[in-house]
């Protein structure tokens, strides 16, 4: 177009030839307009070549993690997943205040627009899209093969992790393998849990192969993480809804691999329970974490599962979640109970015992930030699985699998029990004469205590079909289901945001 401006200025001086020039100018501009209207994409990151370099692939992998770690809106660094597991018997919420969306879970009336569960849903699928993009394109990436293998391993792990959460919460879900949007995704149907678990297992097997023994960063998985998740997935597949009981043996075997190689993977059962929940933002996590999603108070990366959400009003807290009365009362005394619950409130001066408090419930000390800092976020990780989980997976799976509990199963359970209970507690042994089923129940009960308010109990109740039973044993002073619980309450309805766009999901 510069030519036009030049020409038009010319016109001024050569008036006599005005018509000729103007015509020429018009013609010229016509000839050059194609370039003038060419879209200038300098500064736009798009197209397939983005993932063609190792840096590009790594960046896309990092983006995939974002789905799991976006404060309030997506994933697990806020109490959304805790809220969604409120149907279990360990946690409840405020009967009034502003907790209507929390109560939906505790009262078994989950709406399709519940922002808590939807944050998990949206986050898992965003992570899946990012992981799919890596998995579908890494073969064209130029770079160091070993490094690329690890990237691909992490992508498979993220995808499996995300689908595992999705199918446990929603059951039948869309199974998406595409890394980018296309119109045909708008009419995709739902896949059964069986189909979803098939992908989860396959993904975790790739992760198991590709991942190194050492985590690249505290917030990433290693080989041991993949194996531990595979064990957990098998344990779940053996229960409701698939009830593939042959998976108990696979679960036990996989858990055993982790236990036997825990030094190589850097896993450890910390000597004291309190050390696990020291919650010091200056520390990047503990050796008990099998897989954790890190938080760091920058932008939307701070972790809001800690702090105000589980603190009482007396301490400026939000009363989002606290302990159910019978659960607390039945909880075996010991260092674990002391580190799990906060029973006196007040950040300074006078302490109010929970019985006299506003909500008349004990709270979960587990999610207090070191120093009882009164804030809604911290640079702390969401530990999605602990080594203690692996020990109990082994113990339970072995008990329910072929041959019943072996000594290793007793050892695994005892490690947890003895750390948690009062000094001098007798270890369980074969001499106690427990049946395999009874032993398994002991493990499940121990898991309830050990992982209280850690998003574990709900899934145990679901896979063992004990949701109704557990809720029937609630204290009358706690929130009650607003209608009788049925199997339909084991899963949430798919979010309205998606069912309203794809009728095949209804």
């Amino acid at each position: 177009m510069a030519s036009i401006s030049h020409l038009t200025f010319h016109i001024e001086y050569k008036m006599k030839k005005i018509n000729t020039f103007l015509l020429a100018a018009l013609l010229l501009s016509g000839a050059s307009c194609k370039d003038y209207l060419e879209e200038d994409t300098t500064g736009l990151l798009y197209g397939n070549n983005v993932l063609s370099t190792q840096d590009g692939l790594e960046s896309a992998l990092t983006g995939a993690y974002k789905g799991l770690a976006s404060q309030w809106s997506r994933g697990f660094i806020h109490p959304s997943a805790n809220a969604a597991t409120l149907g279990s018997d360990d946690v409840t919420t405020h009967p009034a205040s502003n907790k209507a969306d929390w109560r939906e879970f505790d009262q078994f009336n989950v709406s399709t627009t519940n922002q808590r569960s939807n944050a998990v849903y949206n986050g898992c699928y965003k992570a899946i899209q990012g992981a799919n993009n890596v998995i579908n394109n890494y073969e064209k990436t130029v770079g160091d093969k070993a490094a690329i293998d690890i990237i691909v391993g992490e992508a498979h792990f993220i995808r499996a992790f995300s689908y595992y959460w999705l199918t446990r919460f929603w059951g039948n879900i869309p199974l998406v393998l595409a890394g980018e949007y296309s119109a045909d995704l708008l009419s995709i149907g739902k896949s059964t849990p069986e189909q979803v678990y098939e992908l989860i297992v396959a993904d975790l097997k790739v992760a198991e192969t590709n991942l190194p023994n050492n985590k690249r960063d505290p917030g990433r998985p290693n080989k041991g993480s993949a194996k531990a998740y595979l064990a957990d997935v098998y344990l779940t597949m053996a229960g409701w809804p698939l009830k593939q009981t042959d998976k108990y043996d696979l679960a036990a075997a996989k858990a055993k691999e982790v236990i036997d190689n825990k030094a190589a993977y850097g896993f450890q059962l910390l000597p004291t329970f309190a050390a696990v929940f020291e919650n010091d933002p200056a520390s990047t996590g503990t050796a008990e974490a099998v897989f954790q999603i890190n938080g760091f108070t920058s932008g939307d990366s701070g972790n809001s599962t800690y702090g105000l959400t589980t603190m009482p009003g007396e301490e400026g807290g939000w009363d989002d979640m606290y302990a159910e009365l019978n659960f607390f009362n039945n909880f075996p005394a010991g260092p674990r109970k002391d580190a799990t619950f906060r029973t006196e409130f007040g950040l300074s001066g006078t302490k109010i015992p929970w019985q006299n408090s506003l909500t008349k419930h004990p709270y979960y000390k587990k999610w207090y930030i070191k120093g009882d800092i009164s804030t809604y976020q911290a640079s702390l990780p969401s530990v999605m699985m602990r080594y203690a989980h692996v020990l109990t997976i082994y113990a339970e799976a072995k008990a329910r699998g072929t041959g019943g509990p072996d000594q290793a199963a007793y050892d695994a359970l005892n490690q947890i029990r003895l750390r948690g209970r009062v000094a001098g507690t007798k270890p369980l042994s074969a001499a106690d004469g427990l049946t395999a089923a009874r032993f398994a129940d002991e493990v499940v009960q121990e898991r309830a205590w050990e992982f209280a308010c850690e998003r574990t109990r709900w899934f145990d109740l679901v896979r063992l079909e004990k949701v109704e039973e557990a809720n029937a044993n609630k204290s009358p002073d706690d929130l009650q289901p607003i209608r009788a619980i049925t199997k339909a309450n084991y899963w949430f309805p798919l979010p309205y945001s998606d069912t309203s766009l794809n009728p095949n999901l209804n």
Binding site: I4, S5, T8, I11, E12, M15, A25, L26, C33, Y36, L37, E39, T41, G43, Y46, V50, S59, A60, T62, G63, Y65, K66, A69, H94, A96, S97, N98, A100, D101, N109, T112, T113, N122, Y125, I128, G130, G179, Y181, I188, D217, P218, G219, S283, T284, N294, T297, S301, G302, L308, G313, S357, L358, T359, S374, S379, R483, S497, D498, S500, N502
Partner: protein, 996 residues
Amino acid sequence: MRKYVVLILLNLYIGAGYSYAQNGRITGKVTDQDNAALPGVNVLLSGSSQGTATDGEGNFVINAPASGSLVFSFIGYVSQTVAINNRSVIDIQLTQESRSLSELVVVGYGTQRKTDVTGALSVISTKEFAQQPVTRLDQVLQGRATGVQVTQSNGSPGGDSRIRIRGANSVLGNNDPLYVIDGYIGADYNLLNPNDIASIQVLKDAASTSIYGSRGANGVVIITTKKGARGIKVTYEGQGSVSNVIKKFDLLPAGEFAEIVNARALATGSTPPFTEAQIANYKSNGGTDWQDLVYRTGRGQQQQITITGGNEKTTFLVSGNYVNQKGIVENSNFRRLVFRTNLNTQVNNKLALRFNLSGAHSLNHNTDGGGALIEALQWAPTTPAYGADGFPTFADPIGSVSRSPLDNLYDRSNDATKFNVNAIGGLNYQLPVKGLTLDLQYAVNYLDGQNSYFNGPRIANNVPNAGRYSSDQVTLQNTNSLNYNVTLGNHSINAVAVLETQQYTNKNFSANATGLRFPQLGYDNIGGNSAASVASGFQKWTLLSFLGRVNYAFKDKYLLTAAIRRDGSSKFSPSNRYSVFPSVAIGWRLSEEEFIKNLNIFSNLKLRGSWGSTGSQAINPYATLSSYNTTYVAFNNNSITAGVIQGNAGNMDLKWETTRQTDVGIEMEFLNGRLRLEADYFHKNTKDLLLNVSIPNYAGGGTQTRNIGEIENKGFEFSIGGTPVQGSRFGWETNLNFSTLKNKVLDLGGLPRIGTGTGAGGGMSITNEFMLMPGQPLGSYWGLNYLGTFKPNEADEAAKQGRVPGDPHYEDVNGDNSITTDDFKVIGYAFPKVTGGWNNTFTYGAFTLNVFVNGVFGVDKLNYTRAGAMSGSGEARQFLLTEIRDYYRPGNEDSDIPAFTKTYQPFTQSSRFLENGSFVRLKNVSLAYNLPSALLRDKGAIRIFGSATNLFTITNYSGPDPESSNVGSGTDTAIGIDRGSYPNAKVYTLGINLSF
């Protein structure tokens, strides 16, 4: 300065005296009805070609024979012939012509006599707002033109206004009109000094706007700035104002609040938090009135100076304008400084050059309302404002879970500055062919936008953060036009052909840091912090256009306009790049026909009709491509890692959104213009609607821009104006206008409905607040129908839903005994059905009184500010408004305010918080007094004025202001939501205007 004036006069005198030495010297002054000097009036010796023009103060000097007569003529005024009769001083007053007859109106790429116009356009003369203390164009447009709806949606100083011409066509795109200032397309009216405005034309129908092609669909506001005039004239205006909130919410006093909190705790099995002693103490000593702490008396000032001058060939205008306003919300203010220089020179009888340069700088500080206004209604009155340490109370143990209103006010900064330079240079050359002129214009617009934020340690929970965003935006425009004017007998033709290019680039960067180690540095020094992120971006679009228009008039009676524009835009893929926008209009001036003339009723009668098409490329560049965004993930506890995440899905098939509009109108004038009526009917149809369609979250979420569906806007516009009283001392001019608008979605490409919303609800909405559905208008609220509370005799029905009497009762549309989004339906409408304005000017001697009333009717507002204070949801844990006194409890079962139960499930997105947003408002009353010129010994003029804005509002809306809302001015899909929006204020202004 006086010396200079004298020199010029002397010059004139000598020049004139030399030629007509044999004649007598005649001096005089020409004024208008208001005794204001009229510069530039032609003064001609009758029957000769000798003449002159008045200078900047309306004075003239001419040599003429004592027996001759002088003809005074000026566009827009009735010409007068005055016999000299041996006088040497002749002062005369010109009266305005029935104004629309001879008025020249600026249409796109040219001017036309108003009588010849075939399209629907409104002209706003500067006289209409001269008496009012306006600081911005939107205040000028409000209620003064039919079909133009102005909503001051953000009442903060310098806040956004939503301006719509004949409704909203586009769901996705910006529906703001196109602003053309001195030929520069896409100008920012916020940065225009209203005192620089010479004329405003609002183009409404497609015949008028299609000349702007792809950017004309929302109507066009054409503004011409003032030019200088001969002689030197200086005008100064200064004004000061005070402002207050119009209305506050009724909040419970602390003692009563504490009792209600206790009652709720008891009813739901918790421990009452307040002791009897505390309650008694609150009752006798009161609590915290958060609204009082948040609102204040605002103050403002505007200083304005304009200097015009020049000689016969060259004129200049230099003006400066300074606005400084402190808003009614604490710690919010706005400053703006605008300079302008307009230079015009007639090089010779063929060549004219012009150069306009304007520069503006503006700063908005914390004018976003938001947090403080919301929290003032969510923090408990029992919570003290300040702690023992002297700092604001950090956390509210009872009311809100969010940060204190005071920390929202003082522990954060949100500053937006704009620095804009606009330079327009042009030349106009009379070509050798008679009536053919060439006009070349180049414009450069530079906008430097700086947005900075800082969130201190308190508001950000000990993680203070700050950042800056900087953008460098340059727009280049080149307009080359050929204009041809010819009159051959009864035929007059005006034709224009234009080649125009426009190019926009935006280079930007941002830097953000969290966990500031030195929060006292705010956003001014964010280096040296552990968590920092930077980003940069580049955007560019180009537009290439060819256009032409022919105006044809036969016998000044039969009028025809045909125009066509072809636009090419870089935003689309090559196959969809170009689009053609044609239009045609006809007019018939019946008043020129003998049979009408013989009726002796009409001084003007015109029928007109038009059809045309306009477009919208209302999408961002690169919407055809799927791209990645940068994101940050923490893999440990002390750093973040950058990654990329898929953004919105692109769509290669995007094309132009096209609006076809038909308009028929009639213009009538009676009694030589003392009564004027104008009526229009329009019908707009927009197809290939650009929509951001939600993508399911399982497919990545976000949205994709698509061309889907069709939308219709139709309505009537009426304007009645007149001069009921036209006496020598007392006069009354009045203008009433109102418009109706009916909007309907016709089709959504087969989809039954598409939800839209912008998240303005801030935790109050559980899904999109608006639903697009064929058959329903834009802005249809989507929510639950609130039926009140479950009554004792409805216990069984309540039980089916797991509720008890006293719980909220929502309509169970599908009858499944469960209240879900499946029970959502259209519950109201966010677009007003009728809008209007009534402007009156009364003159009595030297006094001028202006009274302006505007009104909006048939509109609903979703009052989320009230919902926050009354639902116990989102951040708010308690109920704070006095209306809670009436809550449902035994003995008060008639109440529809829910009871205190454990099964209470509030849905704020329901008709419970939908309110009628209609209002009639006394928008402005102003009184001005012109000091008698005798007092000033004719050396100038002094005017003193005072005004009151938003003095009086009639409305049922419970919030502070029915006019304000949260959503930015561009979009229309989510208007009408009020969530702590910054309300408009009552403003009292005093000012003085001096000219000499």
